[in-house]
């Protein structure tokens, strides 16, 4: 559905990047040739927690082809600095979170398996790997702690001397007194205990970095898959490497998936750049799958105890959460606001809940750092919130759909301020529910359940309200240039990781300028060519780049107008722009935009982002599962949703985002779990044999209905859609499973819903107590 702000949007244009990508024309970091580049290999800690003893690199250095072997001794001497968080949280007393130094290589201790302890640089990858095996690092193992509750327990091994009790911040949000008062007068209170499994990003393209050296410019170019080159450039130059930004150009070509963990700067990137600067030679590295599991940021590691208070009519009075967020061994780039702000944004879901409170202990552990991953604090929150709503319905004998309808924020209440201070922009949740039940064929469920039961299976129907609050940095200058060659180049500081930015941005420009999409080329990912940019994260690129490109296009039209007037020998005031050309009013004399550029030179329009990043896409998901009670296996039979995503720029790409997001949530609900061994601190899911990702036949055909209300927060009415589907998927699946199992006496279930776990829950429920 397009709104008339920009007629022409909303066409199902096929992705402009696909012919190239599907015919082998992709250019990923590893595709970039760099003749003579040296290869870096990283030696990683096999221990979860250990004191480092002096390293011996003599044998490694003596190996053929080895150019350099670096350890923390070298990087400390070179003054390589802290990889900082770029956001902060504070405790109730106003104290900022504790952020111990996070150096490219730790000089004193290792704090998780996979932490980098040495770098070997050699002329071939094989030689670098062989030499890496000869680097001798002495470790004195220390006791390790891997789960949030273990880390928060008294007497737990301490991960950082600076963080007593492993707590980096005791974070709070909301009005505790109001919540307590509401609970005191509640007619009913429902409670859940929830442990969100830790998950991995599993992008198709693992991380890599190529640093090439340009002697003439005394400049290094870092080519690396990222979610935005400017953040990387800034942190690498200003904080870690201490070199002027002119000496480091950061380039990102095609990216095989990002999802959040591609945003932070990692040790490997800074070390590869530093090695290139030091050796004055090109150095490259690319990660293997196990390194991805061990060393990229993980996500969702949360423990929560939540309660919901209802009055006698079933109205929600208050919600409160007591939780522990496991940050891993260090504070990663944006994580301070992920479990915290992420939870706060969506804690009241689609409901009008007058009081809410979160108490969250943010803790360190001997695990890989945790940071944003698609949904960023919201999927795990919505799992327990929506589970809690279902539980309240069951406990009070209400229909879960009716209970939701009763408590929805009303359509006339927008903008609606939540108990935790957020401002929902627009929505119509009753309509979302209607549409969700329609697209999910709720009325046919009873028949399908009867058919399942006839086959000895259980069947459950689950719904989940969900939403997202788009975030990110609107640090954008879009530059649109109409070239003399009949093409339009648009430069932007957001970064596609596969989403199809080149298509949707081109659609905005095509609609703004009245030209065919094929004429438009989007340029991103080059710190030399693009003045600034906040990158892509938080489901906001369409908002940030889309609205700014529209503005830049308006500047182009304004700039072209005088030239058109000259060329047509008419007064600018008599010209109107329509369909890619200026026409003298009342005549058929016209001149096209490209003709103006061809005759009078390129036309440039620039604009800065001037809207609000935040929008509130919402949805109601419905899910049907079929469970084999004999084996505990859960099959997702149907998954559908109604979504309010504001203005739709391209329904094909929207569907793609929704499908991918649902699949991500499905994996989290049913199988994904990056477990560490509680004793040894080893990651038990170090390969894809041990870390289960969903396969095509694990996912149903996803359906969706659009029930949009345009966002008043930006000129195009767009809402960010990338994370919305992920936020609700696991919740709907858990609710469907519980709908099937609760009648048999199952009260709570934890994710992932493995056959063993479901079967055990059924056994426990059947056992007479």
């Amino acid at each position: 559905m397009a709104y008339d702000v920009l007629p022409g949007l909303g066409q199902p244009v096929r992705r402009l990047e696909d012919p190239r990508l599907l015919t082998g024309g992709g250019r990923f970091t590893d595709d970039v040739a760099a003749p003579g580049a040296l290869h870096a290999v990283f030696v990683r800690s096999p221990h979860a927690h250990a004191t480092l003893l002096p390293a011996d690199t003599t044998d490694a250095r003596a190996m053929p082809g080895v150019v350099a072997v670096y350890t923390a001794v070298d990087t400390v001497a070179a003054g390589l600095g802290h990889n900082p968080a770029v956001v902060e949280i504070k405790d109730a007393s106003g104290r900022r979170h504790i952020e111990p130094p996070r150096l490219p290589m730790a000089p004193d201790k290792v704090r998780h398996v996979g932490e980098v302890v040495a770098m070997v640089v050699a002329d071939t990858l094989e030689r670098a790997k062989d030499a890496a095996e000869l680097v001798e690092i002495g470790y004195e193992p220390l006791p390790a702690v891997v789960t949030g509750d273990d880390a928060a327990a008294s007497g737990a091994p301490r991960v950082h001397a600076a963080a007593p009790g492993n707590v980096l911040c005791d974070w709070e949000r909301g009005d505790r007194a109001a919540v307590d008062a509401a609970f005191a007068r509640a007619a009913h209170v429902s409670r859940v205990r929830f442990r969100s499994p830790r998950i991995l990003a599993s992008y198709l393209e693992t991380r890599s970095a190529l640093a090439t050296w340009d002697a003439a410019k005394d400049q290094v170019t870092l080519t690396t898959p990222s979610q935005g080159v400017h953040v990387l450039q800034r942190l690498l130059c200003d904080n870690i490497l201490h070199v002027p930004r002119e000496r480091l150009r950061v380039v990102t070509h095609d990216v095989g998936g990002g999802f959040g963990p591609r945003l932070p700067p990692y040790a490997e990137q800074s070390l590869v750049v530093w090695a290139a600067l030091t050796l004055k030679r090109a150095v490259r590295w690319s990660q293997d799958r196990t390194e991805h599991h061990l060393a990229d940021t993980h996500a969702r590691d949360l423990i929560a105890e939540a309660s919901l208070a209802l009055d006698a009519d079933g109205r929600f009075l208050a919600i409160k959460v007591d939780s522990i967020a496991n940050f891993g061994a260090f504070v990663s780039t944006v994580n301070p606001t992920i479990p915290t702000g992420g939870m706060a944004k969506v804690l009241t879901s689609l409901y009008d809940i007058p009081a809410a409170h979160i108490a969250m202990r943010c803790v360190f552990s001997n695990t890989a750092p945790v940071d944003a991953f698609r949904g960023a604090g919201k999927p795990e929150t919505l799992v327990f919130v929506e589970h809690l709503v279902d539980k309240a319905a069951r406990e009070t004998g209400r229909d879960p759909i009716a209970l939701r309808r009763l408590n929805f924020v009303r359509a006339d209440a927008f903008p609606y301020r939540t108990a935790l201070g957020y401002r929902y922009d627009s929505g119509d949740f009753a309509r979302l529910m209607d549409e969700a039940l329609r697209v999910g064929d709720h009325s046919g469920f009873a028949t399908r359940r009867a058919a399942s039961i006839a086959r000895g299976r259980l069947r459950g129907f689950g719904v989940a309200g969900h939403l997202h609050g788009s975030g990110g940095w609107g640090d954008e200058t879009s530059i649109v240039t109409v070239g003399a060659d009949g093409t339009i180049e648009a430069r932007t500081g957001t970064q596609s990781q596969g989403q199809g930015h080149a298509t949707v941005y081109a659609q905005v420009l095509a609609a703004s300028l009245g030209v065919p999409v094929e004429r438009i080329r989007i340029v991103q990912g080059d710190s030399d060519r693009i003045p600034r940019g906040g990158g892509t994260g938080g489901s906001s690129s369409m908002i940030i780049s889309g609205t700014t490109m529209k503005r830049a296009a308006d500047v182009v039209i304004a700039a072209a107008k005088d030239r058109a007037a000259d060329l047509l020998e008419a007064a600018a005031a008599d010209l109107v722009y329509d369909d890619g050309a200026f026409t003298i009013v009342g005549t058929d004399r016209r001149i096209g935009l490209f003709e103006i550029a061809a005759r009078a030179g390129a036309i440039e329009g620039r604009a800065d982002f001037a809207d609000t990043v935040e929008t509130w896409p919402t949805g109601v998901a419905t899910c049907e599962v079929e469970i084999d009670p004999e084996t505990g296996s859960v099959a997702v039979a149907r998954f559908d949703a109604a979504v309010d995503v504001g203005t739709v720029v391209n329904p094909l790409l929207l569907a793609g985002q929704l499908h991918g997001g649902y699949a991500t949530g499905l994996g989290q609900a049913l199988m994904e779990s990056a477990v560490y061994d509680r004793e040894s601190g080893q990651l038990l899911a170090a390969t894809l044999m041990d870390y289960a990702l969903p396969r095509a036949d694990d996912t149903p055909l996803f359906g969706h209905a659009i029930a949009s209300t345009p966002s008043p927060n930006n000129a195009l009415g767009i809402k960010g859609v990338g994370e919305l589907p992920t936020n609700g998927a696991a919740a709907a699946i858990l609710n469907a499973v519980m709908d099937a199992l609760a009648p048999l006496g199952v009260v709570d279930l934890q994710l992932p819903l493995t056959p063993h776990r479901v079967w055990q829950a059924l056994q426990a429920a059947r056992r007479p107590s």
Partner: protein, 286 residues
């Protein structure tokens, strides 16, 4: 992740294999499809020093009928070849059925039946099929051939009765007129190794005639459930329940990433019922 330093030699015929093996010493391994061996090297679970590539040895190839009517499947037969072979479809269809449960096409294109038997993963499909069908493994060494019943060949977790200088040349499946065999497994995802599986052979005639239920993924090797088989052979309405109960005596499953012994026993009971029912259904359908 990288293999230890390795030597690689390619054998062109059987004498070549024996000669190269003798030269390379006791740790050397033969390389067939590499789908199990290469990952174990990358994980540093083994360090054989030398790999002897046998994939060019013609004597280890081919699927054909031999003198006594048996189907002889060469050790180098890939899972994919097994799955599409016309003779296999007619003579030992359960082999083709099993292939559909092994991993993914890319792995089936390289993995071999000889490799699968030699590797002896207790959750693998083909070894269990071989035990259920009472197949014969043909081992060949410098001193000649040995015929070893599949159930004697698989001696434990990743271990077999092969002598250090022997190779699997082929597997032979005797003709069993009127006998039907089904394979079922419960896996976490399509293509995964089974959490538990069963191959059930029975007949001719009713499923109660000489039933041979062989379980995989629930022990250190494929396990012929003799107590359950005896219960099934009794026949009658209570036979299946008795056979399921008898599995407690037949199986002693270890815990693994999928669950503990109680869960594995449950899966085995479920599989037994499904296998028996599918034999009955198959008979009814005829």
């Amino acid at each position: 992740m990288k293999s230890p330093p390795l030597g690689y030699v390619r054998a062109m015929d059987m004498p070549d294999v024996f000669r190269l093996r003798a030269n390379a010493g006791p740790d050397a391994r033969v390389l067939a499809g590499g789908q199990s061996l290469l990952p174990t090297l990358a994980f540093r679970l083994s360090d054989p020093g030398t790999l002897i590539d046998i994939t060019r040895v013609d004597a280890l190839r081919g699927i054909r009928l031999v003198a006594d009517g048996a189907l002889r499947v060469g050790a180098l037969t890939t899972h994919a070849e097994l799955g599409r072979d016309a003779l296999v479809r007619v003579r030992v269809p359960v082999l083709a059925d099993a292939v559909g449960l092994i991993a993914h096409p890319a792995i089936r294109n390289r993995g071999t039946i000889g490799g699968s038997l030699a590797y002896a993963d207790p959750a693998a499909e083909l070894p269990a099929v071989c035990v259920a069908l009472d197949a014969v493994v043909i081992a060949v060494g410098p001193a000649g051939e040995r015929r070893i019943a599949a159930r004697d060949f698989l001696t434990g977790l990743f271990t077999t009765a092969l002598a250090g200088d022997e190779l699997i040349a082929a597997v032979e499946f005797r003709p069993m007129p009127g006998r039907r065999t089904v394979i079922h497994e419960l896996a976490r995802r399509s293509g995964d190794y089974a959490m538990a599986g069963i191959v059930l052979a029975a007949g001719p005639g009713t499923p109660t005639h000489d039933p041979r239920p062989v379980f995989f993924g629930v022990g250190d090797r494929p396990i012929l459930a003799t107590r359950a088989a005896a219960c099934l052979a009794v026949g009658g309405a209570a036979a299946l329940a008795a056979a399921q109960a008898a599995l407690d005596g037949d199986l002693d499953p270890p815990s693994d990433q999928h669950g503990g012994p109680a869960f594995k026993r449950q899966l085995a009971r479920v599989l037994l019922a499904r296998a028996v029912n599918s034999l009955i259904d198959a008979r009814d359908a005829r």
